[in-house]
């Protein structure tokens, strides 16, 4: 149970760490094969790009979880902490809504790519597009997690 909990808490990090390792190795291998053996890999650039698509959407979810997502807070710095927490509840509900709308369409993208394969590796494109869907669904969950945290801040009766 503890292990599952740990894996869930670090899900994006684990996946992203693995992905960037594979990208680095594939790209390094390409340089070696092309320059030293004059025998280029035909799949390495395509693999890297597709993994990068996964990376982009997984980092969305990671940055919400790690609270590193970028927003402009200059205009709300004056607000008391509880008011800001209240605003955050609305903001992250809004985010979850936008991600939900996008994930419906990410799902369409997976569904409509049935039967299509990538040119170099012959990889089903659905596998590529599952990345955005996964990232968006995780982002909804992480946003709602953030909403719950901020709600606690609003309710908590401590001096501000």
């Amino acid at each position: 149970m503890k292990k599952i909990r740990w894996a869930w808490d670090n899900f994006e990090e684990i996946l992203l760490g693995l992905i960037i390792t594979v990208i680095t190795l594939a790209s390094g291998l390409q340089v070696i094969c092309r320059y030293l053996f004059n025998n280029s890999l035909t799949w390495s650039e395509e693999l890297s790009r597709y993994l990068f698509v996964w990376t982009g959407f997984l980092t969305l979810s990671l940055s919400i979880k790690a609270r590193s997502i970028i927003s402009i807070d200059a205009f709300v710095l004056w607000m008391p902490q509880r008011v800001r927490a209240g605003l955050n509840v609305l903001v992250y509900l809004f985010c979850a809504g936008v991600f939900a709308a996008l994930s419906v369409n990410a799902y369409h993208m997976v569904a409509s790519s049935a039967g299509q394969v990538s040119p170099a590796m012959g990889l089903p494109l659905a596998v590529v597009y599952i990345g955005p869907l996964l990232g968006l669904v995780l982002s909804i969950i992480r946003s709602l997690g953030r909403v719950i945290c901020e709600c606690k801040l609003v309710i908590r009766k401590e001096a501000v």
């Binding site: 997502i69 200059a74 993208m109």
Partner: protein, 430 residues
């Protein structure tokens, strides 16, 4: 849908602290929500976001960020910096100037502004603060100097511009060298003024410098040798025909790993997961904004923002000087809200015919455009270097942007010289 309403909603979302990527994503959905005939739907938005990431040259950003973390952990940065400090560490503004020079140096390795900021910032910000410089100043310095990454070739925006304008990439690359050096000079002059006004912690600086001097030039150079060699390896990789600019980022990861693990022995194999994790956390907040910016740019294109805005600006005026000034203002504004790549793709076809009619060389205009957009790297809300730098130092984007204002003014001085003295760009080309 009216442009006022469109940008109004976007501004309100941003002010209410809705994350930038979400604000941009929602703005792309907005026109089709208001008017069901608008052809750009949510389906199209997600396609654009995916295709924005399905882009090989962008991979250089996370890779250079990870290489930067390795260089910092492996103390490669420290040794490289020691060599610079050995010579100018006791001079006024010596170290801030060394940062700008390092960005100039790194610009010749990296084709991207944010990647340069990441690579140089992760090594220089801790160093500057440890000898007493203000953290926000150090962060702003790196964020602005990181713009040199796209002015000094190789440069991904130059390649995009040439693609859109049909001009020669090799000529534009050559044209970028002198403007890059000029901008670096202007930034260094401001660093000097800043240090004169605010003073420096001479005791700390001198202690560090004396300690360094006591080790002797031979030792410092010997210790710094492998670090100094790293740009040589990476540049040599590109210019020696071994790797593409994006692959150079991979080379820099492997090179810095090998040096840190086996030569300097500053990191151990078991440190690698931590280094990787730190890298992942550094680039996490950036990538999705670049992706959302692509979708945003499509909507801006379909709403004809480029032609509406530029026609409004250009209709009444016929003076070349005034029009060039106005184009600079327009591009500075564009740089505030759009990322470099999409901005180049949207505005080159609109503005190039105007400047060509005025007799401005397309190569020269490419430099003007990219210098403007390099300034845009540090202007909120859409400032890629700000985001990267803010991540490195944990100073808020707005604080960095405030501290960057004088640097931006120095950059603007360079921009004016570059705009009105075409020879700065064209001297090496012709």
């Amino acid at each position: 849908m009216s442009l006022v309403l469109f940008f109004g909603v976007l501004a309100i979302l941003l002010v209410l602290t809705v994350p930038i990527c979400v604000s941009f994503a929602f703005a792309t959905l907005l026109p089709s929500l208001v008017n069901s005939d608008f052809p750009y739907t949510a389906d199209a938005a997600i396609r654009s976001m995916v295709s924005g990431l399905n882009n090989f040259p962008l991979l250089a950003i996370p890779l250079f960020i990870i290489a930067g973390v390795i260089m910092a952990k492996g103390k490669i940065s420290e040794r490289l910096f020691n060599v610079f400090s050995y010579f100018i560490g006791n001079k006024t503004a010596g170290l801030p100037c060394a940062v700008t020079i390092t960005c100039l140096f790194y610009g010749a390795i990296s084709g991207s502004g944010p990647a340069t900021t990441a690579a140089v910032g992760s090594m220089c910000i801790p160093l500057l603060t440890s000898v007493g410089y203000d953290l926000t100043f150090a962060t702003a310095l790196v964020a602005v100097s990181g713009g040199l990454g796209i002015i000094i070739p190789p440069s991904i925006p130059y390649i995009m511009y040439c693609n859109a304008a049909g001009t020669s990439i090799s000529e534009l690359f050559l044209a970028g060298f002198l403007p890059g050096v000029l901008i670096a000079l202007c930034l260094m002059i401001y660093s000097y003024i800043y240090c004169k006004i605010h003073g420096e912690d001479k005791a700390k600086l001198n202690a560090q410098w004396q300690e360094l001097r006591s080790r002797g030039l031979g030792t410092v150079l010997k210790e710094g040798f492998w670090a100094l060699l790293s740009p040589v390896i990476i540049l040599g990789g590109i210019y020696g025909g071994i790797c593409s600019p994006t692959e150079a980022a991979t080379i820099s990861i492997f090179y810095s790993l090998i040096i840190s693990l086996f030569v300097y022995r500053t990191i151990k194999i078991r440190d690698l997961p931590k280094i990787l994790l730190e890298g992942v956390h550094s680039y996490a907040p950036i990538l999705i904004i670049l992706s959302a910016a692509v979708a945003f740019a499509r909507v801006i294109t379909l709403m004809n923002v480029a032609s509406v805005v530029s026609e409004a600006v250009l209709s009444a005026i016929s003076s070349k000087v005034v029009i060039l000034l106005l184009i600079n203002v327009l591009l500075l504004f564009v740089g505030m809200i759009m990322d470099t790549g999409p901005a180049i793709l949207v505005f080159t076809p609109v503005l190039l015919p105007v400047t060509e009619a005025l007799g401005v060389d397309p190569i020269h205009f490419g430099i003007i455009m990219c210098v403007n957009l390099a300034i845009g790297f540090v202007t909120p809300p859409m400032g890629a270097n700000l985001f990267v730098a803010s991540n490195l130092s944990k100073v808020s984007v707005i604080e960095i942007a405030k501290k960057a204002v004088p640097f931006i003014l120095a950059f603007l001085v360079a921009l004016m010289l570059i705009t009105f003295i075409p020879e700065i760009s064209l001297f090496l080309v012709k």
